[in-house]
């Protein structure tokens, strides 16, 4: 699989979605409004209380927009993992085993999701707006760090999708795991410091979702709070790579199992 080939897939995906242009645009519009509502709710809260645990509105906006943006990045490539259990059950996965391309990459190409435009637009706007508002000591370094954060956050969401989807190889009923994933994502929409010891530990050392947006944001904003040191934010890319590698391991294990056990 080469980049030009992948882009060709994306182009054809775009073409096939455009067959249903109306429904697509309507969906984008609807999603955008839904996310806007989330931001509005937060705005109202902060307006009343000035801060959430010391986080002001632009800072909250930064935190949430990173969460949504990185989720959109992961989902653009891997949302199909949420339906993967049906593909395995129906035997449709065999199609990917008989192609010359690596199955996971082929899946991503074939099922590339261009429907996250609303996420990118709404969250992207708030992201840029909040950065402008915050006027932190912007250096090339900071900007570079932000880009790395976004990519590593995307990788972590991707890792979650792959890891959870791979469960379909072992247990047929794996869809409920994604509900759990959604719930945990909800936690990271707010500064980790509002939670007690258990949650903070869970999201830092157990299921390290706090590395997606919380620790990196806290580092940028020079926050001093929480149980664990904020410089953990610098470890985010490494955590992301480790998680992604683990997820790929899980996937490989799942494929091997599928090949010996059938389906």
């Amino acid at each position: 699989m080469s980049l030009p080939l992948f882009l060709r897939f994306v182009l054809y995906k775009y073409k096939s979605i455009m067959e249903y242009r109306g429904a697509f645009l309507v969906g984008v519009w609807g999603q955008g409004l839904g996310y806007l509502a989330d931001f509005v709710v937060l705005r109202l809260l902060v307006q009343k209380f000035q801060t959430i645990n010391g986080w002001e509105w632009p800072e909250i906006a930064l935190l949430v927009s990173i969460n949504v943006l990185t989720y959109a990045m992961g989902a653009t490539f891997f949302y199909h993992m949420t339906n993967f259990d049906s593909l395995v059950i129906s035997g449709g996965f065999d199609r990917y085993l008989t192609s010359p391309l690596p199955p996971l990459i082929h899946l991503c190409a074939n099922q590339f999701n261009i429907g996250y435009i609303a996420h990118y637009i709404v969250a992207g706007s708030f992201f840029i707006w909040s950065l402008v508002q915050l006027q932190a000591d912007w250096t090339v370094g900071t900007l570079f760090f932000l880009i790395v954060i976004l990519i590593s956050g995307g990788l972590m969401h991707a890792a979650a999708f792959i890891f959870l989807g791979s469960w379909a190889f072992i247990f047929t009923r794996s869809r409920f795991l994604f509900t759990l994933y959604g719930a945990l994502r909800n936690f990271t929409s707010y500064p980790l410091s509002i939670y007690g010891f258990f949650i903070q530990t869970l999201l830092t050392f157990g299921i390290p979702f706090a590395f997606i947006n919380y620790y990196p944001s806290a580092v940028i904003l020079s926050k001093e709070e929480g149980i664990f040191p904020v410089w953990l934010g610098f470890l985010a890319p490494f955590v992301a790579l480790v998680c992604f590698a683990l997820a790929l391991r899980m996937w490989g294990y799942g494929v091997k199992r599928y090949q010996s056990a059938g389906g």
């Binding site: 429904a23 409004l33 809260l45 719930a183 707010y190 509002i194 007690g196």
Partner: protein, 262 residues
């Protein structure tokens, strides 16, 4: 009459088949509740704002999270599906009134959610976080009434959105828009008394406040008697309005269906 009742029973037992997923739903609700309470703890600390302290916000959150379980209308899914597959024709051929059929179906689902999702969530939430008892025993009946009004309004809104599908084949955008409005103006995440001035006025003009705020406020004794009666009356007004619109649109939809042929 029996036909509608049996439909309610049918959708009730269909929901029963998805037993295992209920635990996950309840778990999800509790997690969601937990997040909300954590936020309020961070915001309020040990002080009071607008005469409301953390214990009361806990109660408010538990009530709203629990109520929202039976205020999630599924009507438009049903109708969308029916329209797409053409199954709607089957319904129109039977000697049933489709709107009532939908209502019965929703009632069945709600009955199930009430018993197996709402009550457990409420109990677990109360045990884990602490639920205050109702402020005054006089408020029990108004509270119950407000919940019933909320359910009718929820169905009414869903029903109107569903009808739009007869013209646009999809309810997606409208659905997300309304859900967005509900997210903000139902007060389920933020009580109306924390809203900025203009927003409060807007919120009172919309029917969404009944989908969480009003019942919770009555329960917690945050409304004077006059306010309670006022709100109940306005609630009834909204029901009449929504169902009036609903009937009109339904009539028009039938005509459109007859012309279009499905």
């Amino acid at each position: 009459m029996m036909a509608y009742f049996s439909q309610a029973m049918k959708s009730f037992s269909r929901s029963m088949a998805y037993r295992a997923e209920v635990w996950i739903q309840i778990g999800g609700n509790i997690l969601f509740l937990f997040i909300q309470i954590s936020i309020w703890k961070a915001l309020l600390g040990h002080s009071m704002t607008n005469g409301v302290g953390i214990q009361e916000m806990v109660t408010y959150s538990i009530l709203n999270t629990s109520l929202s379980i039976i205020l999630m209308t599924h009507v438009y899914n049903q109708v969308d599906e029916s329209l797409r597959t053409g199954g709607i024709l089957m319904h129109l051929v039977k000697p049933l009134r489709y709107p009532l059929f939908l209502f019965a179906d929703e009632a069945g689902k709600n009955m199930y959610s009430l018993l197996f999702e709402l009550i457990p969530t409420l109990l677990v939430g109360a045990l884990l976080f602490g639920l205050q008892p109702i402020s005054e025993s006089d408020h029990i009946i108004p509270f119950a009434l407000s919940v019933i009004i909320a359910m009718f309004i929820s169905f009414g809104i869903g029903y109107l959105i569903a009808l739009i599908a007869f013209w646009f084949m999809t309810t997606f955008a409208l659905r997300w828009t309304v859900e967005g409005l509900i997210k903000v103006f139902s007060g389920s995440l933020i009580p109306l008394w924390f809203f900025p001035p203009v927003w409060i006025d807007v919120a009172h003009m919309l029917p969404f406040k009944f989908l969480g705020f009003v019942p919770a406020a009555i329960y917690m004794g945050k409304m004077s008697s006059t306010e309670i009666y006022e709100n109940l009356a306005i609630g009834l007004f909204w029901i009449v309005l929504l169902y009036g619109l609903g009937s009109l649109l339904w009539w028009k939809a039938l005509r459109r269906l007859a012309i279009q042929g499905g």
